[in-house]
């Protein structure tokens, strides 16, 4: 029968089930021990929280390829009085890192592959814009002087037959473009004030998220800074951000986590006055963790650090069931029975599970993991409470009952809440929320890096003239010639806009591999140059006449430089990130389409973004991609997804509540919904934007608030219930609310929402409690 659900749940009280549960937990313990044999397989990547870009796999691939260079590389810029000595000392330390694939810091490190060997045959098809202009102007007569200088300067290394005009050297210099200078055997860059910094580029063999790699790197850098106190280091690279994030997370887990735990223990000791009761209350927590850890690991392979932090905070929710049971028992003493509590406990679990499992349906792998971890932990804790706790003999201190009475007297409102006042309040709050509500989906939420570190990153990028590959044009074409033509045309279009004042820069593959038609035109130009100007050069320099015939003979068979040739050369290695090659069915493109990226840098103003969007708008084969905006859009989509799922879950729950509580269902839902409305109103008034993490916090408020509403409705006018609700909100505030003090934006927003929301839940419960002294159920079935 609908009114007697606890009868149907009575089978949960059987002894064999308790033993079965113990056996399952023992199995979990064994599984966990086996999984942890090599340490905890953990993950600290915050981006693991983000969904894959399923709508555009080609963009996803391009972004991943561009991001990889940034991920596995780190750059240090060193300023010191004795730069060569300090650089050598630093390089020596870095070379001791176990995960370092290579380190470039001497001028010879970047010159070790002579490009003329691989590129020499193609040189007559590759001309810098300046050379093209000179030859187009007068056949290249002005180039003779420079060629003479090459022949007679003590520094030149002339090749009168292969390359009398030094075409290749000029071309290589033009590609070099960067601001890196060789100085005293070092690689250096100079800023506007003339400060010279040594450049050290490290390539990691492993992941920048690996904690041992991060630790080894920070130790070596710290040791270097101790030995060279006057030296100034600038850092760039994902590993530094990842290390800072991991350090902060560890620090906060120890301070905030430990604070919450100590507070929790203190409160429980004050209320129940018994270490044994305390141990019994913590037992479901341990059981929940023991159940959730091995199963989550088995499902996902590795555990995200955030899952662990968030999951451990389950303390606040999982302990609720134990608190309700124990408060009831402490006050009722020997008259305590589990059965009447079961419907409340079951509904409480169901509402929390629905709230968490809604998250498991989102496309974010990290969030899904958190949700499953939480749901499993809650189930485990609930089973411990229901199956084991009633069987444990625990002392009931009289102080608990006295405390409950006191709390009841102090916090029960003298007057009833007028429904009109309540409705008016709701209307005002809704109006405020509707009027000033803001949302924020920016990616900064996911970025735990401090503003200083981000500024340092930008400084290094601008000193090096490099990019992070976060803005680019994705270009498609049917064949290589067409793709290169398209890239070339885009380069020209960008040049025109840059000349007109657009303050950006770009990296274009077509500058290194010109389109075939352009290569042919260049060869024709070189033929013109090798006509009269070469004769002048040979005569003026006093070179033997055979130089002329031999040099001209080199132009007879010049191979075409193709993208594959260029990318295979050491000189073309940097450009591999730009080339996507043939797309396949997995990319969601027409098979056989070729694609490449043209990476933009210095794009930071909205006007610049608009200009680039206009540039791409006219052409179906060109797409402007802003990775940050794209990820932000995904975050926003995610936020709406969660909101939608939660609304659906809530609607479903309301049906269940209406079925059980009939006309009183609104009293069950009021604390949770009222608290959410209150949070939104406060956010609207203070101008705090709602983001995906505050929304996750609201999900928690909803789960805990519904629990409170359910228990309050089930056992309305009992001090024991009110004590349990108070303790449960208090412990949840300790577990989640304290996260408001976290410096990690994601945790801060989650914590702030919980802090406000849970307080409001606690304040609302006494006002919406059912009026009758004892509930219908209790008088009927007790």
């Amino acid at each position: 029968m609908a009114s007697e659900p606890h009868r149907r749940l009575a089978w949960l009280c059987s002894r064999p089930l308790a033993w079965l549960w113990a056996a399952i937990l023992a199995g979990c313990a064994l599984l966990l021990a086996w999984q942890l044999r090599d340490g905890l397989p953990s993950d600290t990547r915050l981006t693991a929280l983000l969904p894959e870009d399923r709508q555009a796999p080609l963009i996803e691939r391009a972004s991943a390829q561009l991001g990889q260079t940034f991920e596995n590389r780190f750059v240090l810029l060193l300023a010191a009085d004795d730069l060569p000595e300090a650089s050598a000392a630093l390089a020596e330390r870095l070379n001791e890192l176990p995960d370092l694939a290579r380190l470039d810091w001497r001028d010879v490190d970047l010159a070790d592959a002579d490009p003329s060997k691989t590129l020499g045959a193609y040189r007559y098809r590759l001309l810098t814009p300046d050379l093209k202009a000179s030859i187009d102007a007068d056949g290249g007569a002005t180039l003779v002087e420079a060629a003479l200088e090459r022949l007679f300067s003590p520094l030149g290394s002339p090749q009168p037959v292969r390359d009398p005009f030094g075409l290749l050297e000029r071309w290589l210099n033009a590609q070099d473009g960067g601001r890196i200078e060789a100085w005293q055997g070092l690689l250096t860059v100079r800023d506007d004030t003339g400060t010279r910094r040594a450049l050290l580029i490290g390539q990691l063999a492993g992941s920048p998220y690996a904690l041992p790699t991060q630790q080894a790197l920070s130790e070596q850098l710290a040791a270097f800074e101790r030995a060279h106190p006057q030296a100034e280091l600038l850092h760039s690279g994902l590993i530094f951000h990842a290390a800072a994030g991991a350090r902060q997370a560890r620090h906060e887990i120890t301070t905030i986590g430990l604070g919450a735990f100590t507070g929790l223990i203190a409160i429980l000791l004050v209320v129940f006055r018994s270490p044994r009761t305390l141990a019994a209350l913590l037992l479901p927590l341990a059981g929940g963790l023991l159940f959730a850890l091995p199963l989550t690991l088995a499902l996902f392979g590795r555990l995200h650090l955030l899952t662990l932090a968030f999951g451990a905070s389950l303390i606040g929710v999982a302990i609720d069931y134990a608190l309700h049971l124990q408060s009831d028992r402490a006050i009722r003493g020997p008259r305590f029975r589990l059965r009447p509590l079961l419907p409340g406990l079951a509904l409480g679990l169901a509402s929390s599970l629905v709230a968490y499992l809604a998250q498991a349906l989102t496309p974010l792998p990290g969030l899904r993991q958190m949700a499953i971890f939480a749901a499993l932990g809650l189930t485990g804790a609930w089973l411990c409470v229901v199956l084991w706790l009633p069987r444990l003999r625990l002392p009931a201190h009289p102080a608990t009952a006295r405390l409950a009475e006191l709390l009841w007297r102090v916090t029960t409102p003298r007057r009833r809440l007028s429904p009109w006042v309540a409705l008016a309040g709701v209307a005002v709050m809704l109006a405020i929320v509707a009027g000033r509500f803001e949302v924020d989906d920016s990616l900064r939420l996911l970025n735990p890096s401090s503003p200083q570190r981000l500024a340092e990153e930008r400084q290094v990028q601008s000193l090096l003239g490099s990019d992070t590959g976060s803005h680019y044009l994705l270009v498609r074409a049917d064949d290589e010639a067409a793709l290169l033509e398209r890239l070339d045309a885009l380069g020209d279009a960008l040049d025109t806009r840059i000349a007109a004042g657009l303050a950006i820069d770009y990296d274009n593959l077509a500058e290194r591999v010109p389109p075939p038609a352009e290569q042919q035109a260049n060869l024709e130009r070189v033929r013109r140059l090798y006509d009269e100007p070469l004769e002048t050069l040979v005569t003026r320099a006093g070179l033997p006449p055979e130089t002329l015939t031999r040099a001209r003979a080199t132009l007879d068979e010049v191979p075409l430089l193709r993208v594959a040739d260029w990318l295979a050369m050491p000189a073309g290695e940097r450009d591999r990130r730009l080339w996507l090659g043939h797309s396949d069915a997995e990319d969601g493109e027409q098979a056989g389409t070729l694609a490449a990226t043209l990476v933009l840098s210095g794009v930071d103003a909205p006007g610049e973004i608009a200009a680039l969007q206009r540039l791409a708008a006219g052409d179906d084969n060109v797409e402007y991609v802003d990775r940050v905006a794209r990820l932000s859009a995904l975050l926003g989509e995610l936020r709406r997804h969660i909101a939608g799922w939660v609304a659906a879950a809530l609607a479903g729950l309301m049906l269940v509540l209406a079925w059980r509580y009939r006309a009183r269902a609104w009293r069950v839902a009021a604390p949770a919904l009222g608290a959410l409305l209150g949070v939104l109103t406060l956010f609207a008034i203070t101008g705090t934007a709602l983001n995906v993490f505050s929304q996750l916090g609201m999900l928690l408020v909803l789960g805990i608030g519904l629990d409170a509403g359910i228990f309050s409705a089930e056992h309305a006018r009992r001090p024991a219930t009110w004590l349990a609700i108070t303790l449960s909100t208090l412990t949840s505030v300790l577990a989640f609310g304290l996260l408001a003090f976290s410096a990690t934006p994601a945790l801060h927003h989650l914590g702030l929402t919980c802090l406000i929301g849970l307080t409001l839940v606690w304040l609302l419960v006494p006002w919406v409690r059912p009026a009758d002294a004892t509930t219908r159920q209790e008088s009927a079935h007790d």
């Binding site: 010879v108 970047l110 010159a111 180039l143 420079a146 200088e149 007679f152 520094l155 009168p160 070179l543």
Partner: protein
């Protein structure tokens, strides 16, 4: 017999031991600024041909070298540690954007050689010194394989001044520079020579 010749060898090498790279650097540094003439012979192995050029130079220690070609072409080149830009490069723009890495490295190398800055050179070259203060010879062999693929060795010889310089490229091209009529410049002379030389 063998022992006595060994002893003789030891005695011979004693002054050489006393005359080390530091002493040589100090000796070269004794004359800060030098002016003189040069004859430069570039042998191009590929064409089996020699290009000979002549001219005068002015060397200002730690600052720059002004290299003025007289025959077969008229050119004034200035090398500084910062860049190896040629002065008359300003005339034909675009053709002389020489602030590139390799050029600069070459200019730096030339200045280090003229300075006798062994400390800077030691990082990149294995350096051997022979002879004494009056007639010394220095050989430099690149340490890095990557550089050896372009440059085999550098030979320097001289007494009070650097007298000959020989660069041997990996493709068998060589560059010989012989310095003559060298004389020290005092500070005043440097500036007056500069204005006299300026076009």
């Amino acid at each position: 017999m063998r022992i006595s010749s060994l002893l003789l060898l030891l005695l011979w090498s004693l002054p050489a031991l006393a005359f080390d790279l530091e002493a040589l650097q100090a000796r070269l540094a004794a004359t800060p600024d030098i002016a003189g003439r040069f004859e430069q012979t570039r042998y191009l192995a590929d064409l089996d041909t020699e290009l000979v050029s002549r001219g005068h130079f002015r060397y200002e220690r730690d600052a720059r070298v002004v290299w003025t070609l007289e025959t077969p072409v008229d050119k004034r080149l200035v090398f500084t540690p910062q860049d190896a830009a040629s002065l008359d490069g300003t005339a034909d723009s675009g053709a002389n954007d020489n602030d590139d890495r390799r050029r600069q490295q070459a200019a730096e190398l030339l200045l280090s050689l003229l300075d006798g800055d062994w400390r800077a050179l030691e990082q990149r070259f294995k350096i051997t010194l022979a002879g004494d203060a009056e007639a010394w010879r220095v050989e430099l062999v690149p340490r890095q394989q990557a550089i050896r693929e372009r440059l085999k060795s550098i030979h320097l010889a001289g007494g009070r001044y650097l007298e000959t310089l020989r660069l041997q490229a990996a493709n068998d091209d060589t560059l010989d520079v012989a310095f003559s009529d060298q004389r020290p410049l005092d500070a005043g002379e440097t500036t007056s020579a500069e204005s006299a030389d300026g076009e």
